[in-house]
Symmetry: D2
């Protein structure tokens, strides 16, 4: 259940409502917009009556939220969530482009990539220091050394950095360097990790699991939100189906659907969504026009030598062309780039 306060409600009226909810044994989440405040009641509220709250001073309306996710839902917050990462607005009018290599491989590689994507107009630099690899015998990332190289690239280019965190124990270390923490598809329901990133302020980039429904994804986001971190970005990166020509099936329906169900920013990852570099541009453009708030694109200075995901990485020249195409397209989606 959520309680919508009147625009004229006083602080003390709000506090009385919050205290009442807590006295009934429930936790509370507050969402304060410019005009009014919304009180989310967490827990099983089936036995609560709405009228109990609607008679209280300052309360406009009490609503049962029909979705199992609450704080993540449009019913909880009608306006888009927008937040700022070192000056880059996520979820706002501007399309946000995150680009860079799959893995940080070396100082020269990440710096070359960072300057190239910066020049082409990307807003955020991506790069993996801890890699979730299917095989224990594959390259597992440079670890903290990789984080340091990312930080150096940030210093040189001014681009905020996003990088993956694999376990709850590493959250403090990775958060020391990263501007956005990425949670990969395989960890989407790693609840200890979701709770750990929920307890800090660093924005979280949550990738949809390979076989997760939209509700599963929003419930995973809800774990982070319910732990107190409201800066969550949802990412569609393709699902696993019977198809074989592409690495995954990019679920473009998820973009308008998630925007409808939730106020959280939605980013598309056409690199993983297709697995083929020559399909990245059409799917990137399609995602933008379908309503995505941004794109994550793998760019590698020398894809043929990439230690991972070379087949789906763009060369810097091709990425720059794509940025030009996206810039032309943005106004038709009523966005800027």
């Amino acid at each position: 259940m959520i309680i919508i306060m009147k625009p004229t409600a006083s602080n003390s009226e709000l506090n009385t409502v919050v205290q009442t909810v807590r006295d009934l044994g429930f936790d509370v989440h507050l969402s304060s917009g410019e005009a009014r405040t919304i009180v989310g009641i967490l827990g099983d509220t089936q036995r609560l009556s709405r009228s109990r709250f609607e008679v209280m001073p300052g309360v406009e309306q009490a609503l049962r939220v029909s979705q199992p996710f609450k704080v993540a839902s449009r019913e909880f917050q009608a306006t888009d969530t927008v937040f700022d990462v070192r000056g880059v607005k996520i979820g706002g009018e501007q399309i946000v482009v995150m680009a860079g290599p799959c893995s940080v491989e070396s100082r020269s590689q990440i710096l070359e990539a960072a300057h190239a994507v910066k020049e082409a107009g990307a807003h955020i630099l991506r790069g993996g220091a801890y890699k979730p690899r299917t095989s224990p015998y594959s390259f597992q990332g440079l670890g903290e050394e990789g984080l340091k190289l990312l930080a150096e690239a940030r210093e040189q280019t001014g681009l905020p950095i996003i990088t993956e965190v694999l376990g709850a124990a590493e959250v403090p270390l990775v958060a020391e360097y990263a501007d956005i923490l990425q949670i990969g598809a395989r960890n989407m329901q790693n609840y200890r990790l979701l709770q750990a990133v929920g307890k800090i302020d660093t924005p979280v980039f949550l990738k949809r699991g390979m076989s997760s429904t939209l509700q599963d994804l929003l419930m995973a986001a809800e774990y982070i939100l319910a732990s107190g971190n409201y800066n969550v970005i949802l990412c569609e990166r393709g699902i696993r189906t019977f198809t074989r020509y592409t690495r995954n099936t990019f679920d473009i329906n998820a973009i308008p659907a998630l925007k409808q169900l939730s106020h959280l920013p939605v980013i598309a990852d056409p690199s993983h969504g297709t697995g083929k570099w020559e399909m990245v541009a059409p799917i990137a453009k399609a995602s933008l026009i379908a309503g995505a708030d941004g794109l994550m694109i793998e760019v590698h200075p020398h894809p043929a030598q990439a230690w991972s995901d070379g087949a789906q990485s763009l060369k810097p020249e091709r990425f720059a062309e794509l940025m030009d195409e996206l810039r032309a397209l943005a106004p038709l989606a009523h966005r800027t780039l």
Copy 2:
């Protein structure tokens, strides 16, 4: 195997090649472009040597085609297939929009729909007279009466008509009325139907089966092509996956992939691909920008009263708005509308 003739090859040189292939026990398909002719050899050509043909006068090159589909492949024909349906070019520079109700329900309904989509700028009128329904107890379509109403709508509006054919026995009757024959997703591997429409000239609109791979779809097209009808249109209409929020998962990857693999026109059906009218516009626009040659969109004058698929049908006003949006978008896909 395919044999590419020189631009300077004479008719008699071509005939000699064709006769040689036939003498070896194979069937032949000819594709004559403006510059040169390509000879497709049908059957298992593994035991044929390429050099046998490359020494013949007029032959430029003999190529083994690596895909199991041949006539449908880009290797067989590098340039896009373009054909004309009562003055509407399919597969060419212009985006083709097919619109209309799921089922023909009555004279007034189909005429109202036809005029509405014509006015909004659609090129072809769709409407089902024979309906493939999951339940034997559901409305099965008006049958020939529906075909006659479609023909009347064509007469009034000048729009060519596309309608579904359910069985081989009905092909002659439906082809008497229809300008394009639709084969539904459930019939994509109904080989007797594919062979039947392959033996006539009427263009065929082949919808991808709910669990068919791109190769399955192209092999189904190959059945029609190999039977002699080259006017085949491929349609992506969503696949069946574990997702539940939308009726199907629209596989947008299929659009650039099919354009890469095949020379046949590719049309997107966002109505079935989403099952929700409010998602039709974003997916329609995404499909256009991803490279689709056209769109099929369900439009009903009064969706709430539709006998089938009302939830995914646009009202005429909403369709007209979408057409405006598509017109603005087309130049960015290097197309016209």
Copy 3:
């Protein structure tokens, strides 16, 4: 809606009920068990009131059937459907084994196979004369010549024969030879074919489509039942999923589920369900113990030379061993073999 007559109801009371239903514009299906008769009302009965019938003499109860399939449902008929094919009971206490090659390839091949499976204890001979092949360039079956060879094999061994029919137009010809008509997975929603086999008496073996739910399968069966042919056998043969190690994912859950939802016999096809001969025996035995009424198993005298499906065919010796294992297992499923 279904109307359950009292055990004491007279014929004339039954006739009055049937006539009333028809006068209201509905079709009727009668199911007469030993104790009582059940009247199925076909069509959309939402506007019919149950009490209208419950006041009539001889009527015990009128029930709304909650499933969209009616005649196929356990609610319509509580006892298992059992029928006889040339002396072989399908759906009864005895497990029925249908075995033979994927395709009829030659006289010697089908006769050798027929004698081998007969000797091992199979009850019915399978073999394809018309083959649904993904590629138009693959072997399409021997056609009527294949049917004649099957008939000769039946004459020599006494085994009834089952063979696939691909299109409505071929139903009369194939039914002239076959004791059971098979409808393949790709044709499960070929409604014209379902209607055609529904109009004759020959039993129909209906394979589940690659991406069909249990409800889809039962609705397809309903098309046949509603056309008047009650001798329908359901077949689970594996569904298409993301898995790659096996050709299909054999959905063993479907066996107890279909037995629960429907009174129709359920047969398992572990050959297609796995695509690997070495997995046929464990899945065959698992199916028996899970409640299948029978098995369909591909057996080829020389799998390495098979023109189709060799990888999933058992050699006669291995099949005979499997039959021994099944015979030992049958009593534990309260069946005979």
Copy 4:
């Protein structure tokens, strides 16, 4: 690559081989059978030549392992892995049955369940103290209190206990109580957790992810094995597909397939595999006959009051009946129970 030593190889010959591998920069895993020792070389061995090792004294053969999983593969170890958990042999001749409630809810509930499953003949007690719930607002388990109750149940009944661990940080605490650590489907690719349980000796029960292929599952097991813990049990618990009648699609093919690909014990979980208590018995029996080394079955003294998974839990009486049926079946799978 794996190196197979001669039965007559001396310890010093073995040591020389191991040292050589390490000098080349690779890690080593040793598997010592009764007759001979096998040396597994971990890492990318493509640049290693087999002959380098085959010339060394005591070496019989060096083999490239074609599967990406090594230590988990049948090529690495031909004989079944068998290990002992407080006197219960896992992977041996005896079918192992793990049973108990989804969650530990209270002292009386877990003790009642423990005595009931013990009496019916189960070998191991299951119960969740830390629950991976889709919603952050659902019951998350009793935590360490639950572990203590499980330990008390073990003390009273003598049954070893298996319980889930959700994060790497909790491994030491859970391992203090549990005899087997369960890793749930959602955590199958939580590599930090896999590595953490790989570093201790407690056996690990690894559930297949909802959309993981058999190779994915074996690669996840490989993470544990490569970290040094060889006591890994694989569990098939159903995959996510388009089907809707059952909670998951139980992939029975996986049982013979995993036994073929790997030497690790394979346990079936028909409770999650179906989601319906009335389907647990047929799928349990089918799994046994298909080759499973054991079963995990949810049993709750009062399913209607269960806090989680009540719909798929058996009552103790029904479980006891199932045990009788399994006992009768075991000899036909050449097993005991």
